[in-house]
């Protein structure tokens, strides 16, 4: 039997709905078939002023809040272009890198935080890019290049074998203190980066880390060169 979050946990549905609609009076929860959508006019805010508005739709996944909601700009204002971080094939917006979710919308935090955090930043950035400004918070390169950039920054190393080793430890069913540390300094894990590995295993979902590990392995060393390439010029 398929589990649907809003039927399994009606109290959570009511809580999410009440919080979002109180903060964003122009966003509304709609149940269609088995899915819950959040639709309406999303304001870009500063202090209490509305600086801009986007017509948006959030599709909350069946296992919400475990998986990331699908975000769409439905007003046809933002070009469906990779360089605007809108998937040309289906119009979905990629507001964050899933591996970085723990920092922006940790599992277990309310949907409202997703909207006031990464979704708000995404549309605020779009308004600036539309005016010819650079991405205010930077941007990850597309696909596996962005994954490499993220782990390079997180682990402070450009060494791809080291990064993949870290990911193997993050995704392993168990880690043992006597294993060699992935940092390659010749120490045992327990005497080196054991705490970091444990911390990342708690923060990054195994599913997302596994995907990244597979992508990095498939791309091989060429990903390093690709990730160094100049970012694309945004299309305004």
């Amino acid at each position: 039997m398929t589990h649907l979050w809003h039927r399994d946990d009606p109290a959570l549905y009511e809580k999410e709905k009440a919080e979002v609609e109180a903060h964003f009076p122009d966003l509304h929860f709609v149940v269609e078939g088995d899915l819950v959508y959040v639709r309406g006019s999303f304001p870009v805010l500063h202090e209490r002023d509305v600086l801009d508005r986007y017509s948006i739709e959030l599709q909350l996944t069946r296992d919400h809040p475990k998986s990331l909601p699908v975000v769409l700009e439905v007003g046809g204002r933002i070009p469906r272009h990779n360089d605007r971080h809108i998937n040309p094939a289906d119009g979905t917006a990629c507001v964050l890198l899933p591996d970085e979710r723990w920092k922006l919308w940790p599992v277990g935090t309310p949907l409202l935080r997703f909207l006031t955090g990464p979704v708000h930043s995404f549309f605020l950035a779009q308004s600036l890019v539309e005016e010819g400004e650079p991405w205010p918070f930077g941007q990850w390169a597309h696909g596996v290049k962005g994954v490499f950039q993220y782990y390079r920054e997180l682990l402070n190393t450009s060494d791809l074998p080291v990064i993949t080793k870290y990911l193997e430890y993050i995704t392993a069913k168990k880690v043992k203190g006597h294993w060699p540390c992935p940092c390659n300094k010749g120490n045992r894990l327990r005497d080196c980066h054991f705490r970091l590995i444990i911390d990342l295993r708690e923060k990054i979902s195994r599913k997302d880390a596994l995907k990244s590990l597979e992508a990095l392995k498939a791309a091989g060393p060429s990903v390093i060169e690709m990730a160094e390439a100049k970012p694309p010029v945004p299309i305004g």
Binding site: P25, D26, H28, R39, G40, S41, P43, V44, L45, H46, D49, V50, L51, D52, R53, S55, E57, G76, R77, I78, P79, R80, H81, N82, H85, I86, N87, P88, G91, A93, C94, V95, L96, L97, E100, L104, T116, G117, P118, H120, S121, F122, L124, A125, S127, L128, E131, E133, W135, P136, F137, G138, Q139, W140, A141, H142, G143, K145, G146, I235
Partner: protein, 300 residues
Amino acid sequence: MTADEYLNEVLASQALGDDSDEVKALQKHRADVEKLIRDNFRDTALTIRYAGSKAKGTMNKEAYDLDIISYVSSGDDTAGETLEDIYENHRKALAKKYYVEPKGSALRLKGGDPGNLGVDFHIDVVPGRFTDETKTDAYLYQSSGDKKRLKTNLDVHLEHVRDSGVIDAIRLAKLWKARNALPIRTFVLELAVIKLLDGMKKKSISTQMEHIWTELRDNSANLSVEDPANPTGNDLSKCLDDNLKSQLAAAAKRTLDQIDSHGWEAVFGKAEKQEKAARVEILRRAAAVATPAKPWLPEA
């Protein structure tokens, strides 16, 4: 500030003058669209003109469309034998430059180039054929629904809205529809507003809006509209079904509750216009204190 002063400020902030960037862009597209159509139907005497909110004076900055009709003369088969052929031939002609999305009787134009893929140009082209030589009534093809032919009259529609005396209420209702993501066709909403405000033209704008929302909240089940161009022939009941009526009632209730609890400004927010430099500056200031989230994309 009184409720009426506030609503008038909202209307002013949503105004789209002929010198606005949005209207200039629409006019440029309109010229391109007309050329594209005429180049494709060189042997056809087409009537191409504005319809929709541009012609009715009901455009809002936040949600605007440009409707362009492209009608062939009665008995002229050069653009297609049947209404479906005319519609389909227009679609093919427009697809040379745009991504074309069929939408009822209209063809919605969106960006088709890599740089503007999916961008909505807010332009609908409505192909059709005049019913006779007076060039008043026209038949349109309907790409969805059971009935494939719709009889209409652009001038009757324009006059019905333009001369309704409740243009401001229509513009605010359209803004309300956009803010609440209500899936009601704009034309149907316009007809509903005109009907609900029958005999209330001289009332203040705030009284009119409160009346519309009260009626939608309390009596939406009884609401029906007729197409002024073809009251008995075009059944609009499917455009205003029970599901939509309950959505309208719920949104109207929310709006009236907002006014009661937080005042009118809670409905449409602050009304103000900003110059580009000031806009960029305040967006930058907002970014300086926002959650720094870098966007990504799964596949390059």
